[in-house]
């Protein structure tokens, strides 16, 4: 029986399971908007993550069942599935998962020793190498993927059917005019927000990271001349909430004390906003997280200087 009071999961497996569960509402809303492709992509990513994790463990001579038992591959697979644009071909997912688990995590020293967020490293490689393939991705304003059949989706994912061009599409697929599209252009952020707050409540993630990140993004956005509503609205776009609550909060790649974590959140928020405002990419979240990841040792040092043990006289 656990001696610690509270709802906080007491094992690494519990932590990972809680994060995976908290991802469900957001994924559900996402699927509601974009259709079966979301589940399909999640399925592929999980399968790939499982296989590649097992392979890496095998190569490193680690016990496989124990290594898989911590469920860190599950979280990584889910995050990648959600972070990658929809309708990317399967080989690209494989590349991303391989980069994430093989390079960023296992080659970086295994669970707990990597400096870069695995999912973001995987996404970054794909985003840099195959920019043309990815964009424009299915957009919440035109969630045409919802209208495709499973067969069409599979063919597209395996690149057996020619890639659909956005222009060709808007004519080919009638834009759905349902309640979803008109009421809320992009839905899943509510799900991620809810899941993230729940995680913060049971003590799995540190709320200061998303808070600092959002605060800095909004302030910068307003500084660059947008109104408050617009700035707040920008938080719901793309994978912002997902990144804020599930990716930037990854304990392994975030700092070790509260002040440093706040600085970390601010860095992510600022870089994201800069890329969104001036950059080539529509969404700079993954580069922002990677930048901040690299700064962690420095942030730790700065933060540690601000902390004084309670027994040391002021």
């Amino acid at each position: 029986m656990s001696l610690v009071n509270g709802l906080r999961p007491g094992s690494v497996r519990g932590v990972m399971a809680a994060i995976s569960l908290a991802l469900i509402p957001g994924t559900l809303l996402h699927a509601l908007q974009f259709g079966a492709i979301v589940w399909l992509q999640t399925g592929w990513c999980l399968l790939l993550a499982l296989v590649i994790e097992a392979l890496c463990l095998r190569l490193r001579g680690r016990p496989i069942t124990a290594g898989l038992g911590d469920l860190s591959w599950l979280v990584c697979g889910l995050l990648l599935a959600r972070a990658l644009p929809l309708l990317v071909p399967v080989w690209m997912m494989a590349l991303a998962v391989l980069t994430a688990l093989g390079l960023a995590k296992h080659a970086g020293g295994g669970l707990g020793r990597n400096r870069l967020n695995p999912a973001m490293a995987g996404l970054a490689v794909v985003a840099i190498c195959f920019y043309q393939f990815l964009y424009p991705a299915p957009d919440p304003l035109a969630p045409w993927t919802a209208a495709l059949t499973l067969e069409e989706l599979l063919l597209l994912e395996w690149q057996l059917a020619p890639r659909l061009e956005a222009d060709a599409l808007s004519g080919a697929t009638p834009l759905k005019t349902g309640l979803l599209d008109s009421a809320a252009p992009y839905l899943s952020w509510c799900g991620y927000l809810a899941g993230g707050l729940l995680l913060a409540l049971i003590g799995v993630i540190r709320i200061e990271i998303p808070l600092a990140m959002m605060a800095s993004s909004v302030s910068l956005c307003m500084l660059s001349g947008h109104t408050l509503t617009e700035s707040l609205h920008s938080l719901s776009l793309g994978g912002y909430m997902l990144t804020a609550f599930f990716i930037a909060t990854d304990p392994v790649t975030s700092p070790d004390n509260r002040s440093a974590r706040i600085l970390f959140g601010i860095t992510v928020g600022v870089v994201t906003e800069l890329i969104r405002e001036f950059g080539l990419y529509a969404d700079g979240l993954c580069f922002a997280v990677l930048t901040a990841n690299l700064l962690v040792p420095n942030l730790n040092r700065v933060g540690a200087r601000l902390h004084r043990p309670w027994y040391q006289a002021a």
Binding site: S2, L3, N5, G6, N257, W310, Y311
Partner: protein
């Protein structure tokens, strides 16, 4: 002392500050909220152990203290008779009941790693007291310290450090702090003592405070023991004493010395400092009670209260003569389980020798440990979740210390202040990767000392 401190301005400031500190509970950072499981054993009054008529083994060793046996096999001893001679650093040892000395040799002790040299006594069941000497009450701290050594007074709260040695080291004392926090889960022995014997505790506190010249006496009790707090308060009112009871928040390790000193009187005990260095003296309630019995009734320390809890039909607190085999307690507790944990779940250990005996520091027996305590699990990889950092009451970085300890980087360990670790185990308990943090720190500390 009051007049003295009021004569100069800085003394006056100090006096003012101390008065303020005596009123508020100061905060410290870290610690963890635990499921305390105290209701299991806290309901009933302290029971007496039936007079034993079986062989007892009374340890001559207690912590680092070691007494020389002064009885021979075949000799009859009475309850309270000296059987081991100590000195300025070693506690004297007394027979806990009457009987015939059988032999002298090593015996397994419940809360000790290694067997301790002990006097085996075949108790005769008569429980005959030796004539109690009505010594004049000690009049100075030095006298009291010597008296405490002669009466075998070991600290009953934790490691069993001789009370006499603690007092002998006392310098200027502004605050006498009594530790009634009992922050370990499952334990209710101090709770029971405070509820039922508050008068002796308060009387002893007043006596000791007067002797030490302590201006203020504060008792810290965790908020989960309202009856104990009420009992102490009414005892204070009856005695017209100016001891104050302070309710401190329930958070492990609230009873740890630096935490208790901070919470009760606001002073900061830095690692490496002794309470005496900051004008404070800390004593556990049970140790204080034993001191009271020794001074007022001339009774040496020959019994203690042990909490019997966990999977048993009659949990509760029992006053047990020192040296009684723990097997005898199973009957009293109504326990069948052989899976026994000795002491609290945080600081205690599994009972490995079933024939072991109760010592002065055996505070608790948890029957059916596997069902009540966290299951030991294989260690995983640190995920840098920082929980260990959050809970460490000494503001250390257990995860970094662990890496350094594993790689035996002694310099780094020193730099990261490993010596400050109080081995409370809060970090190990909170670690989701189940890393044996505390155990590795314990070992590294030993290596550092060499």
């Amino acid at each position: 002392m009051l007049n003295q401190s009021l004569t100069n301005p800085s003394g006056f400031l100090q006096f003012f500050f101390d008065s303020l500190s005596a009123l508020v509970v100061r905060r410290w950072r870290g610690g963890v909220k635990l499921r305390d499981h105290k209701q299991l054993s806290s309901g009933k009054a302290i029971r007496r152990c039936p007079t034993p008529a079986i062989p007892l083994a009374i340890p001559l060793e207690q912590g680092r203290s070691r007494a020389l046996p002064c009885v021979k096999p075949g000799e009859r001893v009475l309850k309270g008779q000296v059987i081991g001679i100590g000195d300025g650093r070693n506690l004297w040892v007394h027979a806990s009941t009457s009987g015939i000395v059988q032999s002298i040799g090593p015996a397994a002790v419940a809360d000790r790693n290694t067997p301790a040299e002990s006097v085996f006594i075949a108790a005769d069941g008569k429980d005959e007291w030796i004539e109690r000497q009505s010594l004049a009450a000690p009049r100075t701290v030095t006298e009291l310290a010597r008296y405490a050594m002669r009466m075998g007074l070991a600290g009953l709260g934790g490691a069993g450090f001789p009370t006499g040695l603690k007092l002998a080291g006392a310098e200027r004392t502004d605050f006498l702090l009594i530790n009634g926090a009992e922050c370990e889960p499952f334990l209710t022995c101090d709770d029971a003592l405070m509820r039922e014997r508050a008068d002796t505790i308060i009387q002893a506190a007043d006596f000791l405070a007067a002797l030490l010249g302590a201006g203020r006496t504060l008792i810290g009790v965790e908020g989960n023991k309202p009856e104990a707090i009420a009992a102490l308060k009414s005892a204070i009112a009856r005695a017209g004493s100016d001891v104050r009871v302070k309710r401190i928040p329930e958070r492990y390790p609230a009873g740890g010395q630096p935490m208790l000193v901070r919470a009760l009187c606001g002073r900061r005990l830095r690692p490496g400092q002794l309470p005496g260095n900051v004008g404070v003296q800390v004593l556990n309630v049970a140790s204080l009670h034993a001191l009271g019995r020794a001074v007022f009734a001339g009774e040496p320390l020959i019994s203690r209260i042990v909490t019997l809890t966990g999977s048993c039909s009659h949990p509760g607190n029992v006053e047990v003569p020192i040296g009684l085999p723990v097997t005898q307690l199973a009957g009293i507790a109504g326990a069948v389980s052989q899976d026994i944990h000795v002491g609290g779940p945080m600081m205690g250990r599994a009972l490995d020798a079933p024939e072991a005996v109760v010592s002065k520091t055996t505070s608790c027996l948890i029957y059916g440990a596997a069902t009540w305590l966290p299951r030991p699990e294989p260690a995983g990889d640190c995920i840098r979740c920082n929980r260990c950092v959050d809970v460490c009451p000494m503001a250390l970085q257990p995860m970094s210390l662990y890496t350094a300890a594993r790689e035996k980087q002694m310099k780094t360990l020193k730099m990261m202040n490993l010596d400050a670790c109080i081995e409370c185990g809060a970090c190990s308990l909170s670690c989701p990767a189940r890393l044996p943090l505390r155990d590795s720190f314990r070992e590294s500390k030993r290596e550092l000392r060499q």
